[in-house]
């Protein structure tokens, strides 16, 4: 088990650095970092002086090597844009994103899994239809539109919730719903399909035949097996929420890590983008790993293999 974990960890680090090298090169291709840094008001001479100041005139490989050398020592440098240490900048933004991500995925799981189970128990019933409708709507609705609709209804018309910001838990209600609703359909469909599949299997018939209560059959026997692919999916969705909640963060003015990444790319803020990419790829790796462990706990067959 330990060698397995170590192997995966080694691989993860390699993946992270490959990703970081590719993103570094892409940023250089995407535009002149000195021009981006100088901003729209800069003259040609301003840009040249910045280029020298930050060493953008050196070969790209040398600059990457420089960054890598410091990064390995845990020094992610200073953001070109904010002139603040990247580590503290990201830590501050991540707290918002993590809160949002955890709330979002919990909302998605807490609504999608029960709905999926209910839909599977009575296929083609009214519950199934409603669940289907909800998931199609969730898939079809762009989150920027859904977000604005929620703002119009709950912040402007009813005045119940603040339209944007992150200064209290209440501020997270609408973003959570928008972000969670986006992840919900896939989880629900997968739960429903898994449950349908499991419920028609032999051991469920056996369990029912021996007189096990229905609740126990559904949750202990069926759901435990049907949920395994859902756990893997939720892990990926969680990674996506942490890195990709750009639209939601932008609409609700949340200033999280996803929005920071998006803006930093446009600003060619290399140290920030590089550090964020490392963090995001680590998230994916960690969540997939946790999902595997969780699945191994759920399914003893996975443990032995």
């Amino acid at each position: 088990m330990l060698t397995f974990i170590l192997k995966r960890l080694g691989l993860a680090v390699l993946v992270a650095f490959t990703v970081s090298f590719i993103s570094f090169s892409l940023l250089f291709l995407a535009g002149d970092p000195a021009a981006a840094l100088a901003g729209e008001t800069a003259s040609g001479e301003d840009i040249e002086s910045l280029r020298k100041l930050y060493g953008f005139d050196r070969p790209m490989l040398v600059q990457y090597g420089d960054w890598l050398f410091s990064a390995i020592q845990g020094d992610f440098g200073e953001s070109y844009y904010f002139r603040l240490p990247v580590a503290s900048l990201i830590a501050e933004r991540l707290s918002v994103t993590m809160t949002l991500g955890v709330c979002g995925i919990s909302f998605a799981l807490l609504t999608a899994v029960p709905l999926g189970v209910a839909a599977a128990i009575r296929p083609n019933s009214i519950i199934d239809r409603v669940a289907l409708f909800l998931s199609v709507a969730g898939q079809a609705m762009p989150s920027f539109w859904f977000g604005l609709i929620l703002i119009v209804i709950f912040a402007i018309q009813l005045g119940w919730l603040p339209p944007s910001g992150a200064s209290s838990p209440v501020h997270f209600i609408m973003p959570t719903i928008v972000l969670g609703y986006y992840a919900m359909p896939a989880i629900m469909r997968l739960t429903r399909a898994g449950m349908l599949d499991v419920l028609s299997s032999d051991y469920i018939r056996t369990a029912r035949a021996k007189g096990a209560p229905e609740g126990r059959v559904l949750f202990r026997h069926a759901l435990r097996n049907a949920i395994i692919p859902v756990v893997s999916l939720a892990a990926v969705q969680m990674g996506f929420m942490l890195g990709g909640s750009i639209v939601v963060e932008s609409i609700f003015a949340l200033h999280g890590a996803g929005y920071l990444a998006w803006e930093s790319i446009a600003r060619n803020d290399l140290p920030t983008v590089q550090a964020l990419i490392l963090v995001f790829s680590m998230f994916y790796i960690v969540f997939t790993f946790l999902a595997d462990v969780l699945n191994a706990w759920l399914d003893p067959r996975m443990r032995s293999s």
């Binding site: 021009a35 100088a38 003259s43 603040p162």
Partner: protein, 505 residues
């Protein structure tokens, strides 16, 4: 933890629901404003954005102040100034001024600030705001001299704009990063808190000196960054914001029909123009031919662009500078009336009876660029439209690989023609005209101390640039300010929000 979180949530919802839409904060004497862009650093020497200028004018003072309406220069931290010679300015400083942290303002602060920002290696972001200064010298506690590198008559304008005075001891201790997090100045507002890029809280500085900026009326200013303009509007509707600006024309029109908001439109100094590769830096291009450049000038219906797209206080512009700028002589510019027939004839004369193909670049205002594109198509020019990130286009510009592009320039709110025309026509890396005659005139105009000589030579340069149609200047920009009826404010044409001139109705 969960249960307390839940309790807080429910309590807060109940509270908000009970109070209905939050009322405007007039009662608390707090004006709530939204920024669209994340400001990089509050230290005004280390940002280059509009938001930064707004905070700079609130937190710090310059030696000189320019009245935004009359354009008259008045003493601010200096009470008087005189040119000792062509490259030396002497200032008498105002006595009894203190910084927000209690440090008294005197010659040492001026000397430290100037010497720090003038040094290129200290990395001030917009070098041209400061790189004309060589150093500063203390004569006595309240007399100081600034030595210029070369003759630079726009010095007074720069000293009334981007050059503000910092406290020497504090700045030496904390540097630009520290100044960005806890700014200290002599300005009408002191900074209470900064969350970098996100939230800025200001408070009226009780010890503010008798400055031409005027004494602030509103006690607290609370600024949040809200990137999405729709969200800003929602905040305004729900009563949790009092003032926003840079509102798109269509939204502003709808808002102006509503009783609870005031919508005001004001011009900005930003000019939109087409730039042609007249010098042939991008290889063999049709733009080397004067008739082609004139043809495009005739092909564009500027009136229509202004009336249908930009609206508000935008105007048709014929000069390679903003008309209010010193030296930007409108009469010197050649105008090209909208005449697609004439454009086609000129193209035919130049050897392109069926038009030609070219690349056309832009980096902002896609809808304007597309409208321009349709005018070009109408006279037979088949343009391959490329919309790039600003930094990517600048890189191509500097390498001279852009045959034609839609550009804009805001002059950093500097009311002097040198801030625009001299940035682009002095054979720098962004100069696609490379005209020696223009260079010679601009060199005189930029450095002459006699105002009449300056005007004369700027006029000559403008005449040459527009006669040769190196650019097709098109229009000035405008911005919409929307605020609640409780706020009283008259925006100025330089797009600087001045909190000191705001009050409650």
């Amino acid at each position: 933890m969960t249960s307390s979180w839940l309790k807080t949530s429910i309590a807060s919802i109940a509270l908000i629901a009970a109070s209905g839409a939050a009322m405007a904060e007039k009662a608390n004497d707090t004006l709530r404003v939204a920024f669209t862009k994340e400001l990089e650093n509050v230290d005004s020497y280390f940002n280059s954005s509009r938001e930064g200028v707004v905070l700079q004018r609130a937190v710090w003072d310059g030696l000189i102040y320019r009245d935004p309406v009359t354009n008259e220069y008045k003493g601010n931290l200096a009470t008087s100034w005189e040119w000792i010679d062509d490259t030396t300015l002497e200032f008498k400083l105002r006595e009894g001024v203190t910084f927000h942290n209690g440090e008294p303002f005197n010659a040492d602060d001026v000397v430290y600030t100037v010497n720090f920002v003038a040094k290129e290696e200290n990395g001030v972001k917009t070098q041209r705001n400061v790189n004309w200064m060589e150093s500063a010298e203390k004569i006595d506690d309240y007399t100081v001299r600034i030595h210029l590198k070369d003759k630079f008559p726009a010095a007074i304008e720069f000293l009334s704009g981007p050059v503000s005075m910092y406290p020497d001891e504090y700045y030496a201790e904390v540097g630009p990063s520290g100044m960005g997090l806890k700014p200290v100045g002599t300005g009408p507002y002191e900074v209470v808190s900064v969350v970098p890029g996100q939230h800025f809280v200001l408070k009226k500085y009780e010890g503010y000196h008798d400055s031409p900026k005027g004494a602030p009326e509103i006690t607290n200013i609370d600024i949040r960054t809200i990137p999405d303009v729709n969200t800003q509007l929602a905040e305004l509707f729900s009563g949790s914001l009092d003032l926003i600006w840079q509102v798109p024309a269509d939204q502003a029109e709808k808002m102006s029909a509503m009783d609870q908001f005031t919508v005001m439109n004001e011009s900005t100094m930003r000019v939109g123009y087409l730039s042609f590769d007249a010098a042939g830096r991008s290889g063999d291009s049709p733009f080397g031919d004067l008739r082609v450049r004139r043809a495009i000038n005739h092909a564009i219906n500027r009136e229509e662009l202004v009336n249908a797209l930009l609206k508000g206080k935008s105007k048709v512009i014929w000069t390679p500078c903003f008309p209010s700028q010193f030296g930007c002589v409108e009469e010197a510019a050649t105008t090209y009336e909208y005449d697609p027939e004439k454009a086609r004839a000129l193209l035919a004369e130049a050897g392109y009876p069926d038009g030609f193909e070219t690349e056309f670049y832009a980096y902002r205002d896609r809808e304007y660029a597309e409208a321009i594109l349709s005018y070009l198509n109408a006279v037979g020019i088949d343009a391959d439209f490329k919309f790039l990130q600003y930094s990517a286009l600048r890189e191509l510009n500097m390498k001279g690989e852009v045959p034609m592009s839609f550009q804009t320039w805001g002059s950093y709110s500097i009311n002097d023609a040198s801030a625009m025309v001299s940035q682009f026509f002095k054979h720098g890396s962004l100069d696609d005209a490379r005209d020696d005659q223009v260079l010679a005139d601009l060199n005189v105009a930029d450095s002459a101390t006699d105002p009449d000589t300056r005007v004369e030579h700027y006029a000559k340069a403008i005449e040459r640039i527009t006669d040769q149609a190196y650019w097709a200047p098109m229009f000035s920009y405008n911005t919409n300010y929307v605020f609640t009826k409780e706020v009283e404010y008259t925006p100025t044409a330089d797009e600087v929000l001045r909190f000191t001139t705001m009050s409650w109705n």
